[in-house]
Amino acid sequence: MSVAFSRRRFLAGGGAIVLGFSLNPRVSAQGARLPGSLERNPMLDSWIGVGGDGTITIFTGKAELGQGIRTALMQVAADQLAVPFERIALVTADTARTPDEGYTAGSNSMKDSGTAILNAAAQARELLVAEAAKRWNVAATSLTARDGAVVAPDGRRLEFREIAPSVPLRSRASAESKRATARNVVGKSIPRVDIPAKVTGGAAYVHDLRLPGMVHARVVRPPQHGAKLTAIDTSAGERMPGVLRVVRDGSYVAVIATQEFQAVRAARAISDTAKWEGRLPPVDVYPHLLGLASQDTVIHDRDGANLGAAAIDAVYRRPYQMHGSIGPSCAVGLLEGGKLTVWSHTQGVYPLRGAIAEMLGMEKESVRVIHMEGAGCYGHNGADDAGADAGLLARAMPGRPVRVQWMREEEHSWEPYGPAMVTRARAALDNGRIAGWEFDVWSNTHSTRPGKAGELGPASLLAKPFPPSAPRPLPQPEGGGDRNAIPLYSIPRAKVTHRFIPEMPLRVSALRALGAYMNVFSIESFMDELAAAARADPVEFRLRHLEDARGTEVIRAAARRFGWSEYARTPGKGRGFAFARYKNLAAYCAIAMEVEVMRESGEIRVGRVAAAVDSGEAVNPDGIRNQIEGGVVQSLSWTMLEEVTWDARRITSRDWGRYPILRFAHVPASIDVDVIDRPGQPFLGTGEAAQGPAAAAFANAVADATGKRIRQIPFDPPRVRAALLENR
């Protein structure tokens, strides 16, 4: 791979006729807002290039994280351009080649990038048709675009590549597009383009990048974030075979060696001599967390809460949980001629570039960050920190590509966790309906993502450390800790308060679905508690309080698929239901499931799961199904098993033995997903739709099976056994 592989050179080398990168897209003028990420990157040629061989290259600032975004974006482009799917090439997040679309996060890729590409492609197609019309001197309306060409009614045909040189794709997008309504590949489950390489040993990940002369590094990491180095002896490590350098800068220590395992050995030897000093919060974290100062914001107030003395009251708890990527974080850095290139599985190449440049005292323009896939990240894990490692270590070995990969213990103890949270729900019923509702959520921030050097873990260890920015709550309507804290149900009087806790006992950041996982778990558990008090069927009770038509349809679809109304009860088993619209503005998802609880062991087995999802226009239904299946299983793992642990000295959940996640023995018997397609409707995203509903449906099924309500995650066997013994 050529390091100075610029977009311009890429296109020229590919026989392209047109298009350089629009480096300075102006912020949109006073006119209408442009759709999706076009607002931020309005030039059409930032998104689309037509090559001399007829290949269409689409540029996206979003990254493939294993969610299948690559294939879905290509489908959108193919249909709007009227080009066969196979002729679309896609370039993903790279600061030298693609638009800046911030982070690939929040289930926003289809909404941001899919919408931008849809509109840019539609407008590019119209420009190509207009150019053909001009050449033939006919009305553009008489022409159609088909198979990568403009076709006239008399059969004349101009290939896009013939017209493209005269088409001004370096022009600003307009707010309105003439959208192609024919769906050739959109709506079809086109097989994902990235899977064949992944199952045959192709180079698919940044972990597989091997550059000429590349050397290997390992970092001697503190036992947890915030610890300071008080003593170390690097001499033994320096003398070990293959060791090229030991890098030390304050509390930051790393080894660079010729061979990877040499670096592993030397880092281990040095690590054995290191003494660290740091603090960890009390093991019983919930009282500690609630004792910290909070900044309280009423995010929803509809005539107050109106709770009488008979209010039903419940408190829910969720521990710190990890992303737990199967592949530890990895990056490659190369400093050459004053320019730094970092290959990283970051979710945000531009923000990471800014943070690395600041950390190294370089100009942003001298740093290039190229996304390459990693193992699934599920939010802000170690990816950016490893990118920072690569920058620091490349600086120590100019001219040599330096590959750094974390060990399992580093990933488990150093990644920013999903925050521990507490919620309290109170409600009053009147005649079978919820008359008043009050909900409070206590949480740290849900994003400490970079943009600034202070958000890079390694930068906090340097002799001249970069202090982290002050933590901030993410604003509504999307929210952070308060994501999905406002119920979607129609309740006459309601009050919701976000109690944001700035001080972070452990380092935390974005974990898939952010606060929505916990808030939906709480609200949808509570809805079942209320339904029980009202002696109502849980599904019917939800429908009773829901006006949203699409939400209603999703609930009915999931209930139907599960066979809710025909359910036959058997001893030890129970069923549960839950629903949410992610962020209250994205995909709708409802889930029903059956569980069996083993009374003696406290073990829970999940049986059938049925889900329904409405993500707007379903570009790739099987991709959506895959995301929902995965979301259900991941959420079951969080909810059944997962909890970060520590003692006075260190994080103790340092490997899969001490941080167990779901294994095959405990995955559901089946997961059946109904994808409701809405052709022409906006893309709503899917990646985080299922986590909240899956957790609550599970909790509700456990309550249904046992008659005991568990309100603290995880539902591990000791907690389940303890709950079953209560009041017996």
Binding site: L65, G66, Q67, G68, S189, P191, R192, D194, I195, P196, A197, K198, V199, T200, G201, G202, A203, A204, Y205, H207, D208, R210, Q259, E260, F261, G324, S325, I326, G327, P328, E373, G374, A375, G376, Y378, Q405, M407, R408, D622, N626, Q627, E629, G630, G631, V632, V633, Q634, S637, D655, W656, G657, I661, L662, R663, F664, A665, V667, P668, S670, I671
Partner: protein, 155 residues
């Protein structure tokens, strides 16, 4: 110098005998299939076959492998000519990030070669040492079931 037989080819490797096989496969032989996941034998991402048995290559020293036949996912087929296990995973779209998948495929291959009629319960049991964080389990089970049929066993 240690001689290794990987996917039917002989390689001479200059590495100490206690080097884990995984590092030699990935770096010396430049094979991407086996992945580093934990280095502790807890996740299965590094799984390869040795003399027909699935093993964790991250904790198996190359000194123990000399003279034995190592098979990695590259040995099951290619992008152009995928083997049955690979075809089954593609047809079931049994991957999200895909990082854990080659290890699962090698475990499943070992199972089906030893027990061609393996059913869902056998597959779930055999894959017990493997972790998948994306939650692709249901598809992985279907893919192995499909592979079993393609390979002439299964029900």
């Amino acid at each position: 110098m240690i001689e290794l037989d990987v996917n039917g080819r002989r390689h001479r490797v200059e590495a100490p005998g206690d080097t884990p096989l995984l590092y030699v496969l990935r770096n010396d032989l430049q094979l991407n299939g086996a992945k580093f996941g934990c280095g502790l034998g807890q996740c299965g991402a590094c799984t390869v076959m040795v003399d027909g048995q699935a093993i964790f290559s991250c904790i198996t020293p190359i000194g123990a492998i000399e003279g034995r036949r190592v098979r990695t996912v590259e040995g099951l087929g290619t992008v152009e000519k995928p083997g049955p296990m690979q075809r089954a995973f593609i047809e079931e779209q049994a991957a999200q990030c895909g990082y854990c998948i080659p290890g699962m495929m090698m475990r499943a291959q070992a199972l089906l070669e030893a027990k061609p009629g393996a059913g869902d319960a056998d597959v779930r049991k055999a894959l017990a040492p493997h972790l998948c964080r994306c939650g692709t389990h249901m598809r992985i089970l279907k893919a192995v079931g499909r592979a079993a049929k393609m390979m002439g066993g299964g029900k």
